[in-house]
Symmetry: D2
Subunit: 355 residues, 4 copies
Amino acid sequence: MSSSLFAAAELIVPGLQYPTWFAEADPKFGENIRNYYEFARENDLLATHTLIPPQVNRSVSGSEQLGGQLSARIVEEREDGIVIRGAYSYAFAIQNDAPGIRYLCRTSLHNGGSVFDEPLASRYEEMDAVVIFDDVFVPNERIFMLGHPELCNGFYSETGAAALMTQQVVTRTIAKSQFFLGLASEIADSIGIDGFLHIQADIAELIVDVEIGRALMRAAEVDAELNSWGMMQPRWATLNAARNWYPKIAQRFPQIIRTFCASGLMALPGEADVLNPDVVPDIEMYLQGKTLTGPERVKLFKLAYDASISGFSSRQALYEYYFFGDPVRMAGALVNGYDREPVRARIRELLAREE
Amino acid sequence: MSSSLFAAAELIVPGLQYPTWFAEADPKFGENIRNYYEFARENDLLATHTLIPPQVNRSVSGSEQLGGQLSARIVEEREDGIVIRGAYSYAFAIQNDAPGIRYLCRTSLHNGGSVFDEPLASRYEEMDAVVIFDDVFVPNERIFMLGHPELCNGFYSETGAAALMTQQVVTRTIAKSQFFLGLASEIADSIGIDGFLHIQADIAELIVDVEIGRALMRAAEVDAELNSWGMMQPRWATLNAARNWYPKIAQRFPQIIRTFCASGLMALPGEADVLNPDVVPDIEMYLQGKTLTGPERVKLFKLAYDASISGFSSRQALYEYYFFGDPVRMAGALVNGYDREPVRARIRELLAREE
Amino acid sequence: MSSSLFAAAELIVPGLQYPTWFAEADPKFGENIRNYYEFARENDLLATHTLIPPQVNRSVSGSEQLGGQLSARIVEEREDGIVIRGAYSYAFAIQNDAPGIRYLCRTSLHNGGSVFDEPLASRYEEMDAVVIFDDVFVPNERIFMLGHPELCNGFYSETGAAALMTQQVVTRTIAKSQFFLGLASEIADSIGIDGFLHIQADIAELIVDVEIGRALMRAAEVDAELNSWGMMQPRWATLNAARNWYPKIAQRFPQIIRTFCASGLMALPGEADVLNPDVVPDIEMYLQGKTLTGPERVKLFKLAYDASISGFSSRQALYEYYFFGDPVRMAGALVNGYDREPVRARIRELLAREE
Amino acid sequence: MSSSLFAAAELIVPGLQYPTWFAEADPKFGENIRNYYEFARENDLLATHTLIPPQVNRSVSGSEQLGGQLSARIVEEREDGIVIRGAYSYAFAIQNDAPGIRYLCRTSLHNGGSVFDEPLASRYEEMDAVVIFDDVFVPNERIFMLGHPELCNGFYSETGAAALMTQQVVTRTIAKSQFFLGLASEIADSIGIDGFLHIQADIAELIVDVEIGRALMRAAEVDAELNSWGMMQPRWATLNAARNWYPKIAQRFPQIIRTFCASGLMALPGEADVLNPDVVPDIEMYLQGKTLTGPERVKLFKLAYDASISGFSSRQALYEYYFFGDPVRMAGALVNGYDREPVRARIRELLAREE
């Protein structure tokens, strides 16, 4: 379990490459992160991470919540480690069942239905939780950073972690766009709506989204360069555009699916009916599609439902929208980090040109 | 249970006013509808209705589905009534448990949680179902229309039923807009986001929606006129605009709630935690809002969740979007039914004006 | 010519009704405004107004521009009047050619074409200008307010001037919406596009806008009440919604016209060609519409051009967008001035309800 | 001057590469196109093209307009060439002043102002016109295709001309996006608005658009392949997405500039004032920006005006919107030409998967 400042999962790979970055603070931190990387690799560990302090009063910053009592902080520094209850700049890893760690989970989005009834939620639900550090002891060898807020603040940009992490995210978002394009296409075909202009406009929108995602990734990789740590790093400006673009367009995906299915998402019995021989004739007769049998169409529409109506689908949309933070704030970061001088200079040249 | 052409619930009130409309087809139909109105009133009956034939192949019309086998139709005309399996123009009422009626329901959107955990779904879930008429006998005295497709097709517009029904719908949609305005306001206050310009823009959008809804209703009622049946009828052009406007703007409501709550919809434990004395201190500490205690904030956010993330909320959005039919088709009907000649004439006058 | 704080044109009517409001500051101000009202009425004067200080640095407020040198201010107080070069709270009127007043006009949007070629710009262009007060003397009898910033700041809301002014604005905007509905309808008919679903969707949008505007006005007037000055005042919440709604939807109007006309706005000769007998046969043949002769269609499309492509049309769109100020700021004012307590209370009641 | 079916400008390059394509119809066509290519190259000719038949009645196709009288067609086939008045499948080139050719031009968008007052229109206005073929003789050696409608219809896709032409278009649209990003940045800086979140959101939108355009081009070129004519052809699916994406997002560009400039586009004198020594002090004082002198700011805002308000700017927006045809129709073409089978197959695999 890493700190609220950055995440163990993301520390692992940089851990191999950049022990010197951690060692800038303390040589043992460099050693710790390398050891942890090897430990995770050899034991095939899965790491999760804490991301942000709980939301209480968003008109003040995270570390100011409740006068600083809210986010995790160090309450004791011992010979052999530290005890955590608060905010400070640090990075560490700890096992999920360490004494003092508690999880406050949300209600599951898998309502207990079968793979037929909840094809996505039954397989892909991932829990969100508030993690509480109630005087948790972190041994010295799992501490990767302590103090050095200026180092911590620069972690993502200095080490290239932001670019590498975004590359992985864009891979995921392309797959999701493709999923929605495939799903919308199957639905349109199954109920014979693919000839309508407004349906084609929506499918075209999904095609464009898939191709834009693919092109952003391709261009970022083609223009990758060795960074100062000796690692190939995809072009950041391209990936930064991708992560500002996707959260907004992804909100359209479930809307498109809903528009395609319409009442078909309401008149939708479940697996119990499909397996019931008394009911099957009605499903065969009244719920058939243009190209699918009744049970096949119910199965396809259950997938549509879990991608556009269920709590699982809505949490997915929310997750993508806020993945890198509030888009309103991200815009400012994009503007400040992007080199606009070349395009600005061309405007000044045009204005200065004598005819 | 009425036919797919119009709905018993809507027949009841016009039934009192317009027996002569039904009597145009047959005097006994006028008598039947009046008797049914009185029967429903005296016995305090709740009527539901069937709306549309099942969706199979949307590239052909409802009555052409599967060569006409799909929608309900009359298979036998007897001395004492009719037997239903198909499409024809008629109106009738029948009890929900009449022999031969079967319902194919969708999975419930109330997942079994408490009023705390599912504050809307636990109270307001209403079932959707496919209704199957398997040789259902309808006695003569419950038949309100048979044959006369030209009368049937004109029912909504000729009798004023469309205007009266839309007035009721607009009442509902204003209440929903107000619900979202109130909810968004409570959330913004509870987590201290009400000072941000982009949050204020969203609240302003909800205020404008509430006031537009209210003004449309007010103007329609103020300009009501007696129709040819002697009944006060709100101004149709105004209500017709309202029913074309609301389905689109209503899609924004859950999006606004999601944007306000953000991660607060993910870090959201349930009633079991709030009632667990071991967990309450954590909820008190880490899930408090700026102006609410932890349990109060969890309760408010559960409502936000059920209004913007749950399957219940998404089905609501879908329901409003398609309430009167596909907005793409409704636009054509609005255009064709609206008197644009006065505004067109003014353009022609401007073009003809000599200076 | 009034100050930058409020406008002579708007002072005139309240001047009749509210001399006591002005008299709160000084009895002679009450007398002055009444006299000016009568003077304007008897001499049939047209008043214009200055609205805002020049835009220099929008990251500071108007009165802070260039350390306060930018906006008009009083540089001398004499026995018989004041001399204006700066910012203070005051209201006055002055003739447009008073010594020391200079106007810096923008380039005209009427390019000198005929009524045929520029049907709107040739008739309705209204000049915008920066007004410079270079030590302008304002005699005592034309001063309506001096000092008393707290009175000045409350002028619009306290006197009902905001509501009366907005009522006039909404009248204008309804007429504009109707103009675009009429124009779009004439175009659609003339080139035979009125059967396409996406064209109908755009016409339906214009119908809905016309009806919403009309309903907002109707509801505001129906719910008018006598204000504390004994004047009937339309319902402010309704009009406030109207003025927050229109600036955004009006941006769509020229876009719709462009979409309808497409290449017809490019292949568009002018009056010189229509009057040239050598060219008329080509225009008759190649520029005819489905329902119009070539010259008629050219005339209609010239109007479409001046409503959707010309500099005149774009300045109109900009004018409506910023009429009451930056919509981003107006949203905050709407939120702060609207009574949300009733809808918020209903949320709290729902949360408190025991089942 | 080429036919309405395809354009001389685009014939030139393929002319070199694909004489065999033309020769499929007739060996002399292959020879003609090669000769014309060399003639154009050696004489440094600029070719323009006709694009579409005039708009009359858009509810029927171009060739059905006025019973076929409207579009160009062959009225005589002679030994030494053809005489043109009509529609047929052919391609040819002819000098602009050939006997019988007439142009019906639109009014110029350059209003005669200086480079200062109309920085874009004075330099970059390009005329649109209806071209009339009044029995125009085309000699045999300038005919590249005659008859063979099936060859003509496949020209763009079969020869790769669509991809090559789109590559050129995307180059242009990237430059335009960069222009608007540079312009918006210069404006924001000049009046001190770059710190506002909603301004940053708009700049971020422009950055994302620039980077998406760049990535689409980069990816299309990186994945170029030799086509069957031995020519490197950029990846079509990527470019096809680009040309469906840009027409819509480009409509936002002038809107963003307007929002940034606001009243600054109204209080905007011209070069005559800037050159007038009596007026310059007022411009220096009252029209200065945060970082620019008055005259500099007026010059920058004149550019903003010509990019967002003038008839020139609106015609640009219209031009981009309809460049490849009506976006509503283009969507259908994109959908039909895109291989969705791989993403559809993955949906079917998911549905078929047993857990």
